[in-house]
Symmetry: C2
Subunit: 232 residues, 2 copies
DNA sequence: CGGTCGGTTGAAGCTAATCAATTAGAGTGG
DNA sequence: CCACTCTAATTGATTAGCTTCAACCGACCG
């Protein structure tokens, strides 16, 4: 494993506070693997054998049921996933696949569980990570149940803009079908969503989107710190 | 606090494994309070000062946004809530109110956080509780995104039936407006949902519901262990 | 006995999904 | 460099699912 990868993983909230010897013990048993795009890493229903960390690229968490499929989250470096299944020694509730060329660190689940028992600082970090994930999920559920598709889209654009520096020019970090699925809508409906947002200054040009009237858009979207992560 | 209440709380997964002295230290600072129906206990946006435990009655977790309101969960004894906000020292993302006469144990958040730092067994129990909550939320999000309203209703009925002993007679433990909100639909639409389930052997009589063709209903609902808690 | 409230029913409208067709782009190979 | 192909994205037409508004019903309660 490259030492700068190791360093950036060590800097994760999850690993930052753990004892050096424990971190050192963790890494040799782990794999840092490179994957091509659209490679499925995890299948829902399978047993959770590894904690995963996106080191580079992008990973999509999704689920299928009864002929339908939906995206539950898109993860960018550096984030962990399926922590809850590892803690619970349970099966995955979500599948995972790369959306682009990616590198993913895989740590044996049993090692994580052993460490939780031994390293109090690590255990506390895991706790905070899970609590954060829980709250992110509550937000997402509220987003789904309390907003229309267009409102979700508007808020997502504002959030992407904020993440990308607030220059009112957003680059979609994934294709529109994936975005549609994440927002809980069809690709067709996403297209129409963009169209209805045109009067609010949303100018779409491929994967690049200009927000020419951010205030109007914000008035429509009504972002809230109790729904949207990173909102004040 | 009544000693049998204390005992049943002690039996909770959250408290069962913690050291006796720590449990003893926790209780004097806590309040076990009785509340009338429809009493709001928590308001989203407020700071989380207490961990709550439903000891008797029923508590509804709900959220409002932009003129809409939705029920996120209905909690029966004995369950804890807003654990994530306590761990994160953050504001509540959900409001809470009683749906009936209830008794709720309130434990100072700071005491919980202190204990997490001191008692490894308690910390591990909190971790499992949160992981379980996380997975319940993932299921709920999948339920919302992958199913229609009628499918959600059908599955909810099957689940209630299973919880109540599988006699194919379900007693709704809350009124229909609340159920509608929990399922993410309007009360009117819930009524119509019951009507469309009539051919599948769903006979509604006030709050009492007979399932005369459970197999037909199950074929429609398609319950799955990856979506529905407690499904085989 | 009127009043209120939870629930149901009806009609109309809106949002979003579906199906079908077309266009736009990104490679690919000649 | 230019057709050719394949896929993503858009657009149009239709349908399904759900909401909204309004009226109504029945039970419970003062």
């Amino acid at each position: 494993m490259r030492s700068d990868d190791l360093a950036s993983i060590r800097r994760l909230p999850l690993f930052a506070t753990m004892r050096e010897e424990n971190f050192a013990a963790l890494t040799p048993a782990s794999y840092l693997q490179a994957f091509p795009p659209q490679m499925q890493l995890i299948t829902e229903g399978d047993h959770a054998d590894f904690l995963h960390v996106v080191v580079e690229g992008c990973v999509e968490l999704f689920a299928r049921h009864n002929g339908r499929e939906t995206t539950l989250a898109l993860l960018r470096p550096v984030s962990t996933f399926i922590l809850a299944a590892v803690v619970e020694e349970a099966v995955h509730l979500m599948s995972a696949r790369t959306t682009e060329k990616s590198r993913v660190l895989m740590i044996p689940a049993q090692d994580i569980r052993d460490l939780v028992a031994r390293d109090a600082a690590f255990s506390a970090a895991i706790l905070r990570e899970l609590a954060g994930g829980f709250r992110a999920l509550v937000r997402e559920l509220k987003n789904q149940k309390l907003r229309t598709a267009v409102e979700r889209l508007a808020n997502h654009l504002l959030r992407l803009d904020a993440e990308q520096g607030g220059h009112s020019v957003v680059e979609l970090p994934y294709d529109k079908r994936t975005l549609a699925s994440l927002l809980g809508m069809t690709p067709e409906n996403l297209s129409r969503g963009f169209a209805t947002l045109r009067p609010y200054g949303v100018e779409v040009n491929g994967g690049s989107i200009r927000l020419t009237k951010p205030d109007d858009l914000r008035r429509l979207a009504k972002p809230s710190p109790l729904v949207d992560p990173g909102t004040r």
